[in-house]
């Protein structure tokens, strides 16, 4: 019924939303949506892991660890993500060996999607280090000292005392950053990863419905962000400590 409605819209109004009635375009669009979602989910998880590792090293006693984290954070925060992505995809990939793809050909060790995930994780991870650090600094030193005097090791202290509190404090900033990450995944278009923007551009260059596809695309991205905001909101509520609000 939806298909016939959009077919009718195309025939009578000249508004060509081909993704809603053409099975081929729809499958391409959905594949793109799936790739974007996949990149988003993996990058979000990896960037949060990077943020945690970074913040652990930044607060550690090793000078080398602190230096590495500092360089990492500043490098990825102050350079354009698109250039970072190109750097990884073109320059770093050229250093890596190729592997046999089983059909007698050679394929690169890491695919375009793989590099996109690596680059976006590193990019968002740099921001996450900062965000987690701000959250950890907001945990009152008395709480930390109390836990220390009870004989907590540093790992226990982080796992049971600092991180549970810090997480709740930095959730709004983390939210912002993860939304930013979802928006950044469009850059994968530049290295030919078949994600949502790429799929849409293929469709509009074949069907000549730039205006309609643009709007579908914008609404889809706003929808993706809305889903993320909703999930984070649920998570925030489920983590709420009764009577505890800042």
């Amino acid at each position: 019924m939806i298909a016939s409605f959009f077919q009718w819209l195309n025939d009578t109004q000249g508004l060509n939303f081909s993704v809603f009635y053409d099975a081929f375009d729809r499958s391409r669009f959905l594949t793109g949506l799936w790739t974007t979602t996949y990149i988003c989910v993996v990058s979000i998880i990896a960037s949060m892991a990077l943020g945690l590792i970074g913040v652990w090293l930044a607060g550690g006693s090793s000078r080398l660890g602190r230096l590495v984290v500092r360089v990492y954070v500043q490098f990825f925060r102050n350079t354009p993500p698109l250039v970072q992505l190109s750097f990884f995809y073109f320059a770093v990939a050229s250093l890596l060996p190729t592997v046999s793809d089983g059909f007698g050909g050679q394929s690169p060790l890491v695919s375009g999607t793989g590099w996109a995930i690596i680059a976006f994780s590193l990019f968002a991870g740099a921001f996450n280090v900062e965000i987690f650090r701000a959250g950890i600094e907001a945990v009152p030193s008395t709480t930390v000292e109390a836990a220390e005097s009870l004989g907590y090791t540093r790992l226990q202290l982080y796992l049971h005392v600092v991180l549970p509190l810090a997480f709740r404090i930095c959730l709004p900033a983390l939210n912002n950053n993860l939304i930013n990450l979802v928006k950044t995944t469009t850059l994968a278009y530049a290295i030919g990863v078949p994600e949502l923007l790429y799929a849409a551009s293929q469709i509009w260059s074949e069907v000549f419905n730039v205006r309609e596809m643009m709007n579908v695309l914008l609404v889809t991205y706003v929808g993706l962000v809305a889903v993320l905001v909703w999930i984070m909101g649920r998570w925030e509520r489920s983590m709420r400590i009764p009577g505890y609000s800042t």
């Binding site: 230096l67 360089v71 500043q74 102050n78 350079t79 050229s94 921001f127 912002n176 962000v225 609000s245």
Partner: protein, 284 residues
């Protein structure tokens, strides 16, 4: 007893630190010039490696790099120019939308809010495509033809998200001024426009400046997106140079050079933003 079944305080809330600016990234950053040193060493090492690798092939890597560096730098200057223009346009539009966001008229306020949220949550690249494809290449009005070359469209495309972010910064800044200021201005018979212009905005300005600068740094980094829609900027020049030379060992030094240019430009801005934030937080 289930932990969720009580509303009694389990833990006393502690005072949150100074509010994080609308940018969300106002946390004290680990800043030092050591980073730049590491960066330069990395660049030098990769260059030296390329130089050694290129020995049998004739021309040294440094010579090639020096040949292309001025061109890449020109492209970089073009990026900066685009960032200035977009920031100017985006700020003007954003301030107007932001003021509309605190309007007393509900329809104006809600429309401005909707526009802001929409353009803030759409990806920059998609908005850039939007502007590039949907704006006409020329514009006829009253018999005058205004040409819209690609770079003007790019400026407009980048200004859209900037305007939305500026609008949000402005709203946040105005809302952060205590209501007492509005009320006392009211009591002194200031009109609303006077209150906004003479009392609220001057106070909000210093709170809005750091996130605005942060936004500018983000915009500068986003200007490389114009290479995706086919405008010659630093990134496209770098890519063209690498294709022309077809020397794989040069890739890492070339891209690092480009990254270094952006870093050298954005890093001082980040530092200044932080310095301002710290300074203003003391007084606020």
């Amino acid at each position: 007893m289930r932990s969720g079944s009580t509303d009694l305080p389990v833990l006393k809330p502690f005072r949150a630190p100074a509010p994080i600016a609308p940018s969300g990234f106002a946390a004290p950053v680990m800043l030092s010039s050591g980073t730049l040193a590491v960066f330069v060493i990395l660049f030098g090492a990769s260059l030296a490696l390329a130089q050694v690798a290129a020995r049998p092939a004739g021309e040294g890597a440094v010579t090639v790099l020096l040949r292309w560096a001025p061109l890449i730098f020109q492209g970089f200057l073009f990026n900066i120019l685009i960032s200035f223009l977009s920031m100017a346009l985006g700020t003007v539009v954003g301030v107007l939308v932001g003021i509309a966001q605190v309007s007393l008229l509900a329809p104006v306020r809600k429309t401005a809010w909707g526009v802001t949220q929409f353009f803030r949550n759409a990806p920059w690249l998609v908005l850039l495509f939007y502007a590039m494809f949907l704006l006409p290449f020329e514009f006829r009005m009253f018999g005058i033809t205004i040409a819209f070359p690609a770079w003007v469209k790019a400026v407009i495309g980048l200004a859209l998200p900037v305007a939305a972010n500026v609008s949000e910064i402005l709203r946040g800044g105005i809302k952060s001024i205590p209501a007492g200021q509005w009320e006392s201005a009211d009591a002194l018979a200031f009109t609303r426009a006077q209150t906004l212009w003479m009392i609220i905005l001057p106070q909000a300005f210093k709170r809005m400046l750091p996130p605005w600068m942060n936004l500018y740094a983000i915009l500068t980094m986003a200007t490389t997106l114009i290479s995706v829609v086919g405008i010659q900027d630093a990134l496209s020049v770098t890519r063209a140079a690498l294709i022309a030379e077809s020397r794989p060992e040069l890739m890492i030094p070339m891209y690092l050079l480009l990254l270094l240019m952006f870093f050298a430009y954005c890093y001082p801005i980040a530092r200044a933003t932080l310095a301002l934030e710290r300074r203003f937080n003391v007084k606020a």
